[in-house]
Amino acid sequence: MAYQLIGKDFTPPDVAAKVTGKAKYAEDFRAEGMVFCRLLLSTMPHARVRNIDVSEAMKMQGVLGILTADDVPALRAPNDPILTNNPHYVGDPILAVAALDEQTAQDAIDKIAIDYDPLPFTLDPLESLYPGGTNAREEGNVRNRRSGSETIKWTAGDFVEKDVCPTGKPATEWSYGEVDQGFENAKLIVDESFVTANNPHHSMEPRSCMALWQNGKCFVYGATQSQSRTARDLARLLKIELGDLVYIAEHCGGGFGSKGTAYPVMAIPPLMSKKVGRPVMMRISRAEEYFIGVARHGFQGRIRIGFLGNGRISALDMYVIQENGAYRGGGDWTAAGDAVSLVYTPEAMRFRGIPVYTNTPIRGAQRGPGQNQIACVVEPLLDKAAEELGIDQLAIRRINAPDNDSKYGRRQGPVTSVYMREALDKGGETFDWAGKRQKSRQRKGSKVIGVGVGQAYHSAGSSKFDGLVRLTPEGKLHIHSGVGNLGTFSHTATSRVAAEVLTCKWENCVIERGDSRRHLPWNHAQWGSNTSFTMTRTNYVAAMDAKNKLLEIAAMDLGGSPDDYDLADERVVHKTDKSKSMGFADAAKRAIELGGKYDGHEAPEDIHDMTKTSVAALAGTGLIGVAKDNLKHEGVVPAMAVGFIEIELDLETGKYEILDYVGVAECGTVLHPQGLETQIKGGAVMGFGLAALERYVYDPQNGLPANMGLYQCKPPSYLDVPSEMKTEVVDIADPQNPVGAKGIGEPVQGCAAAALLCAISDALGGHYFNRMPVTTDHIVNAAAGREQSYKALQVNTV
């Protein structure tokens, strides 16, 4: 379909502020009389606080107040608390001190004496599952979705097989098809144990937050990916009415899933502000961001894959032990199972898993939560099987690739659209797969070529949220977006659908976002790669509502029926008699005169209360288009990505150079080519880090973290990634989106990570680590034929 705006590049309205430094992040806001607060973090991995002596701190000049767990709302365990007297990891926030300046706050914290009663702690899920093993939480060692926590211990017999991941009683289990039969039919069974690392998010912008109270309303300036969803959740956290919260979040310096919505420590500045009667800024430092900024779940596990002679997967059996951190965590383990069912379409499959607490920081969603870890596990094993079966590595992926008839997850539900083979073919051509494979394992001096391909998936779309647009008497189209600003410009890319429907010139459009005072609709959080699908739908339905109202007004004023009219160039025009037309500015004026539904004095019943409040506030200011997205939505919306990579690895040093990378996105219609290209490349950079650089290291004797700083955690630097990468798109419209769009943000990381791991193993002549990350020391040991220094299934060493 020919679009005026969809699929074309544009200058995002917030980009100039970002590159000039004028963009205001949470930390940049100031208010009259503002003071600062800082956190006291637990020095123990598991303890009860017996006593807190603040007497010396409170005597200090400039100290204004202290909040402890006793002063803040308690959240039901195992949710991460706002503050706690029962710390579950080193770095768990115990109290906050407000003072005139940060230095005084820190000096005061140094004078506070905490009397801890230490409790046993553990950093290894398998140790916790062993009979008599330590529970990271007193009420249990396993997270249970229904009741909170429970204790599950396996038998010593489960652990007898040396170097093989035990698979005792799971917390959940599902299967489809004839799994045993599938393995019987298999010509080859790959059976491996694996470990994937935890990863701190280390968002570039730490989650600073400022809050103040004015006339009974709470103003919060936060660092979050999302807007409307955050506001709702934060109001709940603060136990105030949504209408009493003003939430401002114009920009976000990276979240990667960790700032999806309101997080408990975000309640501290508002609560402290209420207590001390001053605006309170809480700036979060890099080390604090490590502790409270969430991390990706690591896995231990075992996977058995049965292959027929032609490479088709006849059966797959996987077990995932999720390192859950000390609190609620996320659903990576189950997401991993669902992803495997779709990406590799096994004819029969069993999934088992268990999330086990450890005394380490809060876990949550990180870009491709579960899907990207499991891509790093499965993709190298496809290569291993391909080699043993004598099949090309790309061909084995093609034969197992999903399509529109493929089914998803434990319920084997439908998908909206998948074009994985097309993605593999397109990337293979651009990369010159056949040519590159010829070079695989070619040696020159100490250097050897490795080639790899990786695939990844994430669900990428939701529905049932609201859209809200407004045409003003000045002839401007205001598109109200409550999704948030993760940094990808998708708030604007998706808003352009409204302009497209209404034939508006882009320069006549204004995006209203970033501040609840701009009267925003109820929208989904900006997470889960959903924005492109979800927000194009809400903006479409709102624009269609505005369009219908425009047609009705034209028919009323110019005669005929609404069906006789259409929109063109910001006018309502009679289809056959072009002399009958009305400009949008005049139509907006007429809408205000007409009142009722036309100018927002009446709103649809089925929209969310937040949207109703916004519509009421805007009533009388123009023609209002507002609707809930009730468009057809059946099945999961798959975002698929494929990465192709060529590396040159030096066997003497364990270092490699990425010679070529091609990233392919299968995300339906392309909304914003530049934005998509940046997503594919940025995702690849983060994927290279996931595969081979970023780490999570703990001292098991003391429960201490070794990688709080960026230089210790080692996200990729500009010299660790290729300066040029190629991108490709499949660009086939999804049938359940009005413009054919699907999301893409997450799998573009996983495919790159998996491809790099495959290439490293290829360069090493088919040496499979069954681990990620694979770091320099692992490669050096493998190349030198030395035993690795980590023990089988050991976690948190790199």
């Binding site: 140094d110 364990g654 230089y711 190349a783």
Partner: protein, 329 residues
Amino acid sequence: MLRDMMANFELYQPTAIDHALNLMNRYGDDGWVLAGGQDSFDWFKDRAKKPKAVIDINGIDDLHGIRETADGIEIGALTTLTEIETSALIKEKYGVLADAARHVASPQIRNAGTIGGNVCQDTRCWYYRYGLDCYRAGGNTCYADTPEGIDREHCLFGADRCIAVSPSDTAPALVALDARMIVVNGDGEKEVQAEDFFIGPDVDIMRMTILQPGDLLKSIVIPNTWAGARFYFEKVAERNTWDFALVNIASAMKVDNNAIADIRLACGGVACVPMRLTVVEEVVKGSSPNGASADLAASAASRGATPLNYNGFKIPLMESLVKRAIRES
């Protein structure tokens, strides 16, 4: 526990060496000399070190710059790593030092970081940096050298209660070049061989260099001995910028009639000091710098290495770098 919030201190900004020495004398252990700040500010922000007085020497002109002398060059301690990396003189005569400087951290850090700071910087042992009361911090234990210690970055040689390593990239180059460190204090000036400037825990567990309170590294003198020799520098780190070496190597070699007439090699990241590989030097002297002598050199280099829980990879890595230094100089 990291705090990321500096405590107060008195700040002095002397403009002459004598003034700085007076201040250093006055404050003794409570004073802290600040050059580029790349190491200092970490300590201050974490409140793991809380000096009463910080003596910022950046205003002392005599400590800046590179000058040619009759016998070589003299580099002021405050000369930035970028200045060293880009100096035509150093590149021409002592390429191994320019090369080493170029591999330090990142361009931003090299713009601020000084050669003096780079050689005087404290170890990066993460337990010690965490602020724990280990031997090096004045306590009576080592957290890293334990059955489950996370010691991937720690030493292969010279463990003595402490197993931390020298993090500097320029230090091995200076040892290879037979540099001399010019140290001043209230009693006057003294010269120390680079090789002797760095000390292990067997000498003093709380210091990485011979500098005592009151001592200031004024400059580094590089003699003409190795000017224009065949050089080799390589650093292997996880990341290609803003990372410390897992292992690095610096060598200077003179070849006569296709035989190694003389050679100096130093290796970083394997001991508490930039370790001069004297045995390797003896092994290869007189041989051709080819693959066979490189292999021999490699096995000589790692003799006596004692791997810990997680750092065994440093043995093949060190061997590889020694090989390459001989083979590819």
